[in-house]
């Protein structure tokens, strides 16, 4: 065996001894559990909708009218809004983060653009102090057709239960 082959063998042997597993962060497990649950609920809802729609079509057909359900209007080119999440419980990890993730996921699955981030506790100020009455915990960017729809979505955000969600339209064209 040539010298380079032997050196490769030693290296590969050492590489194969490296641990093949590492425990993922706990919040991922919580997130995936919520994801599977919301997926299942969405399937149940979808099946129920299909059943209701089929019944309606059959009923309409029976009386000589065919009624097709109108597709829901997801704004493809509406306006962008920021949901600023103030106050609420501290920490925000584990199930809480998973709950927020599930909220965003449900909207995404309905075809709506949503993104968001959680903010760390530390904050640094440059320039004049803002005097925010409550700490800003995180934010979401979401597309909605107008401010009324955005506010309605914000009301359903889990943070609105015990925190404040401020809705601001994003002014950048």
């Amino acid at each position: 065996m040539s010298e380079p082959d032997k050196r490769d063998e030693e290296l590969v042997e050492a590489l194969r001894r490296l641990p093949r597993e590492e425990t993922p962060p706990d919040h991922l497990r919580s997130y995936m559990r919520s994801y599977v649950r919301s997926n299942d609920r969405a399937n149940v809802r979808l099946n129920a909708r299909v059943l209701v729609a089929a019944s309606l079509v059959l009923a309409a057909f029976a009386v000589g009218r065919v009624t097709a359900p109108r597709p829901s209007a997801i704004p493809a080119d509406g306006q962008k809004f920021a949901f600023l999440l103030y106050g609420g419980p501290t920490g925000g990890g584990g199930d809480r983060a998973a709950e927020y993730g599930a909220w965003a996921l449900e909207l995404r699955r309905a075809g709506r653009q949503v993104s968001g981030e959680r903010l760390a506790e530390e904050a640094w100020t440059a320039g004049l102090a803002t005097g925010d009455p409550l700490p800003l915990r995180g934010f979401f960017i979401i597309r909605a057709k107008d401010s009324s729809e955005a506010v309605e979505l914000a009301r359903r955000h889990p943070h609105a239960r015990d925190g404040t969600v401020v809705v601001r339209r994003i002014d950048t064209p």
Partner: protein
């Protein structure tokens, strides 16, 4: 203990989070270790890639045909998600070499040395030498030529050796 096939069958029937978590708990640690290495030790990016991999795999679990092991199939999603997370091309020219690590315990040295490699070298070494992929499989999952995979592996191993204390491998293999 239920086999992967039994769990997949059970999940197809009940769609319950309990059954899913049995699959998750079995395979996520290996998927996460792979993601951590491919992402160069950037844990947050690795966690994002793992989450993305599971959310992509979940609706396709019913399509799993057993042509490979379930773990290999799931790891394919991880590789794709990690690949997409690199803004630039995965196979870029090798950058500046990091400082040679201090000669501590081998595993730490080797792990650190591995993470300090360029993304292209690291990906091929991780997939070939640690995960056991063939060059053909690497070429397919990374979208490169087989020849590129071979040359990257050879150069990557050389770069890895340069970063390691020469005694580290000999001590363990003696």
């Amino acid at each position: 203990m239920a086999s992967d096939e039994q769990l997949l069958g059970a999940f197809a029937r009940d769609r319950s989070d309990r059954t899913f978590l049995a699959l998750y708990d079995r395979h996520a640690p290996a998927m996460y270790a792979l993601a951590c290495r491919l992402m160069g030790g950037r844990d947050a990016d690795a966690a994002d890639a793992l989450q993305e991999a599971w959310t992509r795999a979940l609706p396709r679990l019913a399509q799993f045909r057993g042509e490979s092991s379930l773990r290999t199939w799931l790891c394919g999603f991880v590789v794709n998600c990690c690949r997409e997370r690199f803004r630039g091309p995965l196979f870029e020219a090798i950058g500046e070499e990091a400082d040679r690590p201090s000669p501590n315990e081998l595993r730490i040295d080797l792990e650190r040395a591995l993470l300090s490699l360029s993304a292209g070298y690291r990906a091929v070494i991780v997939l070939h030498d640690i995960e056991g992929y063939t060059h053909q499989e690497i070429a397919r999952v990374l979208g490169i030529e087989e020849g590129t995979s071979k040359s990257q592996l050879s150069r990557g191993r050389e770069a890895l050796r340069r970063r390691l204390d020469p005694r580290a491998l000999q001590v363990r293999s003696s």
